[in-house]
């Protein structure tokens, strides 16, 4: 009897501790969700405030206490912003620059990375290290000499200074792609070679189709970087009709600083393409970035 009682007690204890564990886990999760929700709201506040302002009437903008959500959302503000500022024009300019840079990156990156990943030749190791070290060189050092060179070539105020570098390979993309190609089994190359494919045939038929995750990173990062670029366009472009959206926005600010409702609408519109690309690509991005393996 005594043993039975003790056994029962053990079971009861187990049950109790299991319940306690479930309870603490539940509390822990609730706390985490509460914290995350609070932080997320805090982080989204500037964006929310921008959206809210963009839908207000002019007299509501400086009202106190401020209205969090405008009582009558003024959707017409957006039409007014598009009519008042050459927003469409600037976004089109940015789109052209993005597209040209993506084409450049998609052509140059696989070729160069293929050279690093699949061929042996004297000096390869040194060249690879040199390529990696250029990643650390800050872009500002190029500005004066390149400005001088582009001026000599008559390319100031054209898109060439903002497009050309992409065709010579970005070191970050080359590194990423080289690491990626190294994970593709060489057996596939050999099989294609037996079928009569040359070195470039293998690149085109085997390597490029299998490198889609890495190429996705090239496309998305190029999109974000070029769309957001500011310093180079303000230096190499003069005519304000050719400005990309980033420079265009900064340019409005100096001129129409009182119309915050229109201005916040324009800013919001300018980030929508980036957000769309980000939402569609984020899964590939994290996978693609993990493949660089920031390890030893």
């Amino acid at each position: 009897m005594r043993t039975d009682a003790r056994a029962l007690d053990v079971q009861g204890q187990l049950r109790r501790s299991e319940a306690r564990r479930r309870y603490t886990r539940w509390v822990g999760r609730a706390l985490v969700y509460a914290l995350m929700t609070f932080l997320a709201l805090l982080f989204m506040l500037p964006i929310f405030w921008m959206a809210s302002t963009s839908l207000k009437m002019p007299q509501e903008i400086f009202a106190w206490p401020p209205e969090w959500i405008p009582s009558e959302p003024q959707w017409g503000n957006y039409a007014e912003a598009f009519g008042k500022y050459p927003l469409a024009r600037y976004m089109l300019n940015s789109a052209i620059l993005v597209l040209a840079n993506i084409i450049g990156g998609l052509i140059s990156t696989p070729i160069i990375a293929y050279g690093f990943a699949r061929f042996d030749f004297p000096g390869k190791h040194v060249l690879f290290l040199l390529m990696l070290s250029t990643m650390m060189v800050p872009g500002h050092i190029k500005l004066i000499p390149m400005f001088w060179l582009y001026q000599k070539l008559g390319l100031i105020d054209t898109y060439w200074p903002l497009i050309l570098p992409a065709f010579f390979g970005n070191p970050f993309f080359i590194f990423l792609m080289t690491q990626f190609i190294r994970t593709i089994p060489r057996d596939l190359d050999d099989a294609a070679r037996i079928d009569g494919a040359g070195a470039w045939g293998i690149l085109y038929r085997i390597i490029i189709p299998l490198s889609r995750p890495a190429l996705t990173v090239v496309v998305v990062f190029t999109f974000v970087w070029v769309w957001n670029d500011f310093l180079e366009p303000i230096i190499f472009l003069r005519d304000w009709n050719s400005y990309p959206i980033s420079v265009g926005l900064a340019f409005f600010q100096g001129r129409y600083s009182v119309e915050w409702h229109l201005f916040m609408g324009a800013t919001l519109v300018s980030i929508i393409p980036i957000l769309v690309v980000y939402f569609f690509a984020q899964r590939h991005l994290i996978g693609g970035l993990a493949s660089i393996g920031i390890k030893g």
Binding site: W49, T134, A199, L231, F263, L289, I294
Partner: protein
């Protein structure tokens, strides 16, 4: 090199030729976009030159002026260092804390990851404009919320003492970018290590200090270098929001360089500034790299 080349078989030589051919775009690009600009900047930094005339050789005069009689050089260097010292440690630590939260295996985390990463993908110009409005002293959200709890908010970007911290706070808003890199690092840590530690009776803190942190040091190292270079290059915020003010409080180094080069066309002096910043960034990188073997843990 030549004898080496002769010692190779025909097949090896063909291989090598294809390799060089594949690398040729990068090699040409290296000469045009890296080697030439760095050498040219060095040469221009020893001249007086306004772009329209020919560069006039003045030796080390630009550097002498920089170090002895240019208060703007000193103040812009101070503002930039202050910004680096303020934003970098906060971004590294808060980024790690955020990544640890986002790494919890509970439903709905994908949503939060998306939310926190959004600020990191928006352009510097859009972010700056948004924050000008967000931190308006009288009708901005932050000061309104502060006024609800009876605190008189500062003038943020428009106050000499608050402008630089405001820019730092704004840069910390983009901490999600760092968190995502940490997250990739965290997910590379093998789960069996945690299981083994748990069997050995190691608590949560112990597991963090003994497993997570050591195995994350390569990521931390990578992140430190990236953020360091980035922080030194702060420019857009100063250009869009403060124009370097008030009273030069946010007159960052790159903004000074930009004004010297492309507003005043003092190309010779600006080249000296550019080279100085390059050397500072490179030395910091090399320093971090050199000391890294003391604190970065590599598995093999």
């Amino acid at each position: 090199m030549l004898t080496f080349w002769r010692s190779m078989t025909a097949q090896e030589r063909r291989n090598a030729k294809t390799g060089y051919l594949a690398l040729s775009p990068w090699m040409i690009g290296f000469v045009i976009f890296y080697a030439f600009p760095i050498l040219a900047t060095f040469y221009f930094s020893l001249t007086q030159w306004t772009l329209v005339d020919q560069p006039v050789w003045i030796g080390l005069d630009n550097y002498v002026r920089m170090f002895t009689r240019d208060p703007l050089f000193a103040s812009s260097l101070k503002a930039t260092s202050l910004f680096v010292a303020l934003s970098l440690p906060l971004k590294l630590v808060l980024g790690l804390m955020l990544a640890l939260l986002l790494n919890l295996k509970i439903p709905g985390m994908d949503f939060f990851r998306t939310v926190f990463f959004i600020p990191a993908v928006i352009s510097g110009v859009a972010v700056s404009l948004m924050w000008i409005w967000f931190l308006q002293p009288d009708t901005g959200v932050v000061n309104t919320l502060l006024s609800y709890v009876g605190v008189q908010g500062p003038y943020w970007f428009w106050d000499r003492d608050w402008a630089l911290p405001s820019v730092a706070i704004m840069s910390i808003w983009k901490v999600g970018g760092a968190a995502i890199i940490y997250l990739a690092g965290l997910q590379n840590i093998p789960a069996h290590l945690y299981e083994a530690a748990e069997i050995d009776g190691a608590g949560k803190w112990r597991r963090f200090w003994r497993i997570t942190l050591p195995l994350l040091t390569p990521t931390l190292f990578f992140q430190l270098i990236i953020e360091l270079i980035d922080a030194f290059k702060i420019f857009t915020e100063a250009f869009v929001i403060t124009k370097g003010g008030p009273l030069k409080a946010t007159y960052f180094f790159l903004y000074y360089f930009y004004e010297e080069a492309f507003r005043n066309f003092n190309m010779g002096y600006a080249s000296a500034l550019a080279l100085f910043l390059l050397i500072v960034i490179m030395s910091c990188t090399v320093f971090v790299y050199r000391t890294s073997n003391r604190w970065v843990y590599y598995e093999n």
